[in-house]
C-alpha cells in the first residue's frame, strides 16, 4: 500500500470513528462527516491525477458538490433539532425510543 493511500485511509477511519464514538453534539458529527468527504475528495483527486484518466477529472468536483449539499442539509437539520428539542445534543434525541 502506498503511503499516500495509507494517510487517507487513516483520515477516513478516524473520521468514521469520530462519528461512531464521539457524538455529543450534532455539529461534531457533521464535522466528522466533512472529514469523511474531504478524505474521499483527496483520494478521488489523487487517483484521477495519477492514472491520468480524463473521464474522471471532473468527479472530485461532483463529489464536492454533493458533499456541500449534504453539509447544507445537515446544518438545516441541526437548526430544526435546536428549534424542536431546545438543544442540538444527540443524547437528547430520545423521544422515538418509546
Amino acid at each position: 500500500m502506498p503511503s499516500t493511500q495509507f494517510v487517507f485511509f487513516t483520515m477516513f477511519f478516524l473520521s468514521l470513528g469520530g462519528i461512531t464514538f464521539y457524538r455529543n453534539h450534532i455539529l461534531s458529527v457533521l464535522l466528522c462527516l466533512e472529514g469523511l468527504m474531504l478524505s474521499l475528495f483527496l483520494l478521488l483527486a489523487i487517483w484521477s491525477l495519477e492514472t491520468n484518466t480524463t473521464l474522471f477529472m471532473a468527479t472530485p468536483m461532483l463529489l464536492l458538490a454533493f458533499s456541500a449539499c449534504e453539509a447544507g442539509l445537515g446544518l438545516a437539520l441541526l437548526i430544526a433539532t435546536t428549534r424542536t428539542h431546545g438543544a442540538a445534543n444527540l443524547n437528547s434525541l430520545t423521544t422515538l425510543r418509546w
Partner: protein, 347 residues
C-alpha cells in the same frame, strides 16, 4: 407542505433510485443514493413536530456515513484494481464493507436498530415509502455484487430474520411492529439472494404488495398503537374482517399470498441440500408469525367492551374504502393459486 415542493421532492426521490438502478458505475450509484437521501429528508420532516425532526436527523446521520463508506470502498477498489464497474469488484475487503454499509442503509439485522426508531417518527405513508421504495436502490446494489461473499450474505439474512421476529415480540406500536416485519422480509430476501436472484425479486414484489394495504389501512384509521386496533371494527367492518388475513399473509400462512415466497425459498434451499439453513429460517419465521397473530387477535378476534352507541359508527358516517386499498388488498391475499404464473414470469 406546498404541493409543488412536495412534487419536486417526490420526483427527486424517484429519479435518485432510478439513477442508481440504471448505473453500472459506483460513482453514479452513489450519486443516486445521495439524491435519494436528500429528497426524502424534507418529506420526513414536513410535519413540524419534534418526532418528525428527530426521525429526519437520525435518518440523515445514518444514511450519510453509510453512503460515504460505500464510496470509500469503491475508491479503494479503484486504487487497487482500476475498476469502477459495480459487478466487477474483485477485492474482498471492500466488498464485505460495502455489503455491511448497504445493509446499514436498509436497516438489516446487526445494524438495524435505527429503523424502528425512524419509522416511529414518521407518518404512515412516508413510512410505507421508507420501508419499500427506499430499500430498492441498496438492494439492487447488493444484487449486482452477489455470489461472491456467501457467508456474509447468509449471516446478514438469518440474523435479520431472527432479530426481526425477536424484536417485534415486545412492541405495542404498530409502526415499530411494521419496521421489524420489514427487517424480517429483507432477511428472507438476502438469504436466498445468492442461490436465486429471481426469487429475491419475487419476494420483494410480493412484500410490497402485502405491506401496502396494511400501511394504508393503518393510515386510514390512524392506528398508531395496537390498542387502537379494535376501533377498526366500528369504523370499517369489512376491513376489520380482512385485516387478520392480511397480517397472516405477511406472516406467511399457507392459503395466502405470503406463503409463496417462503414456500419457494425453502424448496430452493432443500433442493440445494441446505437443510440446516432452511430449518433455521423456517423456525425463526415463527417469531414474526407470533406478533402478526397477536395483531390479528386484537384487531378482530376480540371485541373491545363498548356501549351499543359506539359499536356502529360506520352506519352514521360510512367510510368508503379508497381505490388503492381495494386493488391491493385482493392480490395481497389471493395470489397463491397463481404461483405457476408468477414462477413462469420471474424464474
Amino acid at each position: 407542505m406546498n404541493p409543488i415542493t412536495l412534487s419536486m421532492f417526490t420526483t427527486a426521490l424517484l429519479s435518485g433510485t432510478l439513477i442508481t438502478l440504471s448505473s453500472t458505475n459506483w460513482l453514479m450509484a452513489w450519486m443516486g443514493l445521495e439524491i435519494n437521501t436528500m429528497a426524502i429528508i424534507p418529506i420526513i420532516a414536513r410535519k413540524h413536530h419534534p418526532r418528525a425532526t428527530e426521525a429526519a436527523t437520525k435518518y440523515f446521520l445514518i444514511q450519510a456515513p453509510a453512503a460515504a463508506t460505500i464510496l470509500f470502498c469503491a475508491i479503494t477498489n479503484a486504487w487497487m484494481t482500476g475498476q469502477w464497474e459495480i459487478n466487477q469488484m474483485s477485492t474482498d475487503l471492500p466488498i464485505i464493507l460495502i455489503l455491511i454499509s448497504l445493509a446499514f442503509k436498509m436497516g438489516m439485522a446487526p445494524v438495524h436498530s435505527w429503523l424502528p426508531d425512524v419509522l416511529q417518527g414518521l407518518d404512515l405513508m412516508t413510512g410505507l415509502v421508507l420501508s419499500t421504495w427506499q430499500k430498492l436502490a441498496p438492494f439492487y446494489l447488493i444484487l449486482q455484487l452477489h455470489s461472491t461473499h456467501s457467508l456474509t450474505l447468509i449471516l446478514l439474512g438469518t440474523m435479520s430474520i431472527l432479530v426481526g421476529g425477536w424484536g417485534g415480540l415486545n412492541q405495542t406500536q404498530t409502526r415499530k411492529i411494521l419496521a421489524y416485519s420489514s427487517i424480517t422480509h429483507m432477511g428472507w430476501m438476502l438469504v436466498i439472494l445468492q442461490f436465486s436472484p429471481e426469487l429475491t425479486l419475487m419476494t420483494f414484489t410480493l412484500y410490497v404488495t402485502m405491506t401496502l394495504p396494511v400501511f394504508m389501512i393503518l393510515h386510514q384509521n390512524n392506528t398508531l398503537s395496537i390498542n387502537k386496533l379494535p376501533i377498526l371494527a366500528t369504523h370499517t367492518p369489512t376491513i376489520s374482517a380482512l385485516i387478520p388475513l392480511l397480517l397472516l399473509s405477511l406472516g406467511g400462512l399457507p392459503p395466502l399470498t405470503g406463503f409463496i415466497p417462503k414456500w419457494l425459498i425453502i424448496q430452493k434451499m432443500s433442493h440445494l441440500g441446505l437443510f440446516g439453513l432452511a430449518t433455521i429460517t423456517a423456525l425463526s419465521g415463527l417469531f414474526s408469525l407470533y406478533f402478526y397473530l397477536r395483531l390479528s387477535y386484537i384487531s378482530s378476534i376480540t371485541m373491545s367492551p363498548s356501549s351499543n352507541l359506539t359499536t356502529a359508527t360506520w352506519r352514521l358516517t360510512p367510510n368508503s374504502i379508497p381505490l388503492g386499498l381495494k386493488t391491493t388488498i385482493v392480490p395481497s391475499m389471493m395470489l397463491l393459486p397463481l404461483t405457476p404464473m408468477i414462477n413462469s414470469l420471474l424464474l
